[in-house]
Amino acid sequence: MSDAFLRKPFESLERQHMAVSFGMWVFLVSEILLFAGLFAGYSIYRGLYPHGFLAAGRETDIVYGTVNTAILMTSSLTIAVAGRAARADFGRMAWRLLVVTFVLGLSFLILKGFEYREDIGKHLLPGPDFPLAQPGAQIFFSYYWIMTGVHAVHVTCGLIALLRLIAISRKNFAWLSGSASEDATALYWHLVDIIWIVLYPLLYLVGRSHG
């Protein structure tokens, strides 16, 4: 079984798995730096326009935000357990949990879609119809759209990766245990969760105690 998974140039499957996991971590660090630029800009503008950010932050929908955070955290749980199940050779359990993870991730995007529709209905797009006049309020929403948009693209990529795992292993659950793919996909998914965990207070918990 192990020979089927061994890829050149590796001589041992254990080494290969270690390399894939390490390689994915290195890639995740690059993803952290990708969002870092956004966080830095957000911090600077929040410092420059405290009132604008407080006023604008109140306009995001805390219900959508909190529910979506809970969904993503739960999907992290299911994919983490899927990994443990795969490593314990419970292939079918792992496969089912990957499907649940996919469904949760898809729900996140669907809810996001509804939220965006509501935001557009409230004219929360920077431009002439923008409802708030405070300086910096529009910039908060620039960051809202860009941060959630880029994050949503990452969720989509994660969903495609999950779909690939689900499709490949649907006739052969044991594949999930032998391949390093499952671990790599899970690491990526967890990072997508962590990014959202940081975005949540920046976009949804601003200015709630005022007004």
């Binding site: 870092a36 955290m73 357990v81 949540y200």
Partner: protein
């Protein structure tokens, strides 16, 4: 029976982490309505950092064997810190 026990064992720790994450989510959400003044952002970010650390340490298995992954993971926050520190050197002194 053994299989069921093993499956329960597979769920146990992750669910514990998930419960902690949910508790922290509830905490941070509730605290945002409490007037903490200038402290609301740092408090919320600390809670977020704790949640992130839980996901990283336990779901992502950072503290299992391979020290290399920990080294890589550490580089992320360190470099973000450098970015904030030196950009701050400009913005805080203008």
């Amino acid at each position: 029976m053994d299989e069921r026990a093993r499956k329960r064992e597979i769920w146990f720790r992750p669910v514990l982490v998930w419960v902690a994450l949910c508790a922290l989510l509830a905490t941070t959400c509730t605290l945002s309505y409490v007037p903490l003044g200038g402290f609301s952002l740092p408090v919320a970010l600390c809670i977020a950092a704790l949640k992130g650390a839980l996901v990283g340490a336990i779901f992502m298995r950072l503290f299992e064997n391979n020290a290399l992954n920990r080294l890589a993971a550490a580089a992320g926050p360190i470099w973000v810190f450098v970015m904030f520190l030196l950009m701050g050197a400009d913005y805080f002194t203008r």
